[in-house]
């Protein structure tokens, strides 16, 4: 049978657009940044020490902003808290509020315990309102000695340990929202939560790597080649994991050749031909993976390593954004008649347009800038004076 193109009458309108693309993009960065910090805190990866605190703050800054695109998307944002107050426990979104709040509490506590000593020192130096505010944040407990430091360290360790699965759930959760919808064959796959989670790790590591390179060069963070190599390796492994998952997903669709494959293959070969094959897989994923692989395979000097990692990170961020676009928007470009397709061109200035999407994407960086005005991005003891100036013939302590 050959079908003429036909879309169901209500399918002319796209319900989820740029805000729903932006949310998983931001939550993925949050997860990836937290993973870096967790590797140092919970798994003792010492090479990540220079970027540990900074990654934690990146994760926290993004976590404070990730719900904003969702609120902007809602038809009635003033009723948003109903998701927590009167949730439908059968609904996948029904649990979102709780999962978000649990991880928010964990991450806030990790930040609090990590920075308690810094805040106590700052409170002792301060006067007036600032001192009162800092004391309130410290819950009026300014005791600090070796025993308390150990308690704080253990608290950070155990909170990070329970934070890892919480982060994975929050990050992969959006994948479950899509993957559990049997109405849409492009979304309905059990691999979806893992695809979102792993690609999220990739984007978070890429953001931290880029910022680390910039802030290291600017003298705000300790420059360490070992740290950069570890970040590069994490990027490579997460990219490989993502390639495997995406490959498995596509292979299953193709090999099963069910009804779904008819619409998916048509979608991929028409509406998503450029955005999926060329931009996402080719330009984003392919170039980044080849660059990273070549860099590790052939060995490059430290400045080249930094440059290649930076370029690969930019390409990977682009890849992850395109992946969000191709999933969220791509999945709505075909009608549920399975034989009709539609166009979607977002406008710049509309409620869920390009300008708000850019604003919501940049907002976490503004929050990060504010947070780093208050909290140090360096590990306690890593004073600026201790950092050797970068040299061209630098060893493991610089790049």
């Amino acid at each position: 049978m050959v079908y003429s193109e036909y879309h169901l009458p209500n399918d002319l309108h796209l319900v989820w657009s740029l805000m729903i693309v932006t949310y998983p993009f931001l939550s993925g960065i949050m997860a990836g940044a937290f993973a870096i910090s967790a590797l140092h805190i919970a798994f003792g990866v010492e090479s990540l020490r220079p970027v540990n605190r900074f990654a934690l703050l990146v994760s926290f800054a993004f976590l404070t902003c990730i719900t904003l695109p969702l609120l902007n998307h809602l038809g009635h944002p003033e009723r948003a808290l109903n998701v927590v107050i009167v949730p439908n426990h059968r609904s996948a979104i029904g649990g979102f509020g709780y999962i978000y709040m649990v991880f928010f509490a964990i991450l806030a506590l990790i930040v609090w315990f990590s920075y308690r000593e810094d805040l106590i020192a700052e409170a002792q130096r301060s006067t007036g309102v600032k001192k009162a505010l800092l004391n309130a944040v410290l819950l009026w407990n300014t005791n600090i000695d070796d025993e308390i430091r150990e308690i704080d360290r253990q608290a950070v360790f155990y909170l990070t340990a329970i934070g890892i699965p919480s982060m994975a759930v929050l990050s992969g959760y959006v994948g479950f929202l899509f993957g559990s919808l049997k109405s849409n064959p492009w979304w309905s796959t059990p691999v979806m939560p893992f695809v979102f989670f792993v690609s999220g790790l990739m984007s978070g590591i890429a953001v931290v790597t880029l910022l680390y390179l910039y802030l290291g060069a600017a003298g705000y963070l300790v420059r360490s080649y070992q740290c950069l190599r570890t970040l590069g390796a994490l990027l490579w492994f997460s990219t490989l994991g993502y390639i495997i998952l995406e490959g498995v997903e596509l292979l299953y669709f193709y090999y099963e050749s069910s009804d779904a494959w008819f619409v998916i293959s048509t979608l991929l070969l028409t509406k998503l031909k450029i955005s999926f094959f060329f931009l996402q897989l080719g330009l984003g994923l392919g170039v980044a993976f080849l660059l990273l692989s070549a860099m590790f395979a052939f060995g490059v000097d430290e400045p080249t390593f930094a440059k290649v990692t930076a370029v690969a990170s930019v390409f990977l961020l682009f890849e992850v954004w395109m992946m969000r676009w191709n999933i969220v928007v791509g999945g709505q470009l075909f009608s549920k008649s399975y034989v009709g397709f539609r166009e979607f061109h977002p406008l710049w200035f509309e409620k869920e347009g390009i300008a708000p999407a850019i604003a919501f994407t940049l907002l976490p960086f503004l929050v990060l800038w504010i947070v780093t005005r208050i909290l140090s991005v360096r590990e306690a003891g890593d004073n600026k004076a201790d950092i050797p100036a970068p040299r061209k013939d630098a060893g493991h302590e610089s790049y």
Binding site: M1, V2, Y3, S4, Y6, L8, P9, N10, D11, L12, H13, V15, W16, H73, L74, G75, H76, P77, R79, A80, N82, V83, V86, P87, N88, R90, S91, A92, I93, G94, F96, L177, L181, K182, S183, N184, Q332, S335, K336, S337, V339
Partner: protein, 262 residues
């Protein structure tokens, strides 16, 4: 001693009388508010003949569409729009035209949801078979739309009708994505989900859905499967009926007669 003028005495009498009258009226009004009012159900009993008043909890509704009888006039789509104030560009109820040529090409269309009828066929080649398929909410038993609603704004009534509480809906659009039949939409005026209710506001008054009422060919049958003598029950029990996308296990309660494999 000063004596009050006669007109002053009269005025006082009048004032007293007015006060007593006002007090009596106030007391009467208070008393009236204390009298128990009839419930909504009782009031319906008062205005409707007893045999038309449904016992709200003792019904389970189903819908049957006989595609072999549908003539594609679009009356149902028009009536639905008027009855339910459906916004322009959205549809609670529409009709699709299928034309299959002898070469195996399938042409489907639904201009304006069929509300304006269908233009003369311009399909290339010989049409071997053609038919109309009206579509509306399937009011599924295993409904994905109520499952995904995060705030229980979409819910199923005891009568088997799936409804949306617009005062609770947050407008997330998850139910719109979850419905495999695209019968839901976000109303641009209220920013909440909307869909066919099988004209629940009419059904609870003992009336038929608007689309059933106006169908000239009897292609639409609506009724109560709990009633032994209902036509809809008879059709479901005795004829070969199919549902849309049965492989998704949504258990629609909208059944089709003469449905082709599309």
């Amino acid at each position: 001693m000063s004596q009050e003028p006669k007109n002053m005495k009269d005025k006082k009498k009048r004032n007293r009388r007015q006060f007593i009258q006002a007090a009596a009226a106030g007391a009467g009004a208070m008393f009236i508010t204390l009298i128990p009012k009839p419930s909504l159900g009782q009031r319906i009993h008062q205005i409707e003949p007893m045999d038309r008043v449904p016992d709200w909890m003792d019904h389970y509704y189903a819908f049957v569409i006989d595609t072999t009888k549908c003539i594609g006039c679009g009356n149902c789509a028009r009536a639905c729009k008027r009855e339910n104030d459906v916004p322009e560009g959205f549809f609670r109820n529409w009709v699709e035209r299928y034309q299959v040529t002898d070469t195996g090409h399938v042409y489907i269309d639904s201009p304006n949801g069929g509300a304006d009828g269908f233009p003369q066929s311009e399909v290339p080649g010989n049409v071997a078979k053609g038919f109309f398929v009206p579509k509306l909410c399937n009011h599924c038993r295993n409904t994905p739309c109520t499952q995904v609603c995060p705030v229980n704004a979409s819910y199923e009534t005891p009568q088997g009708v799936v409804l949306v509480d617009k005062k609770t809906c947050i407008g997330c659009g998850y139910c719109v994505q979850a419905c495999p039949y695209s019968t839901r939409y976000i109303d641009p005026r209220t920013h909440t989900a909307d869909k066919c209710t099988w004209c629940f506001h009419r059904v609870t008054k003992g009336l038929m859905p608007a689309c059933v009422t106006v169908c000239p060919s009897g292609a639409r049958v609506f009724g109560d499967v709990k009633k032994k003598d209902s036509k809809v029950k008879e059709i479901i029990d005795t004829k070969q009926v199919l549902t849309l996308k049965p492989e998704l296990n949504t258990e629609p309660f909208c059944f089709y007669i003469g449905l082709d494999k599309w």
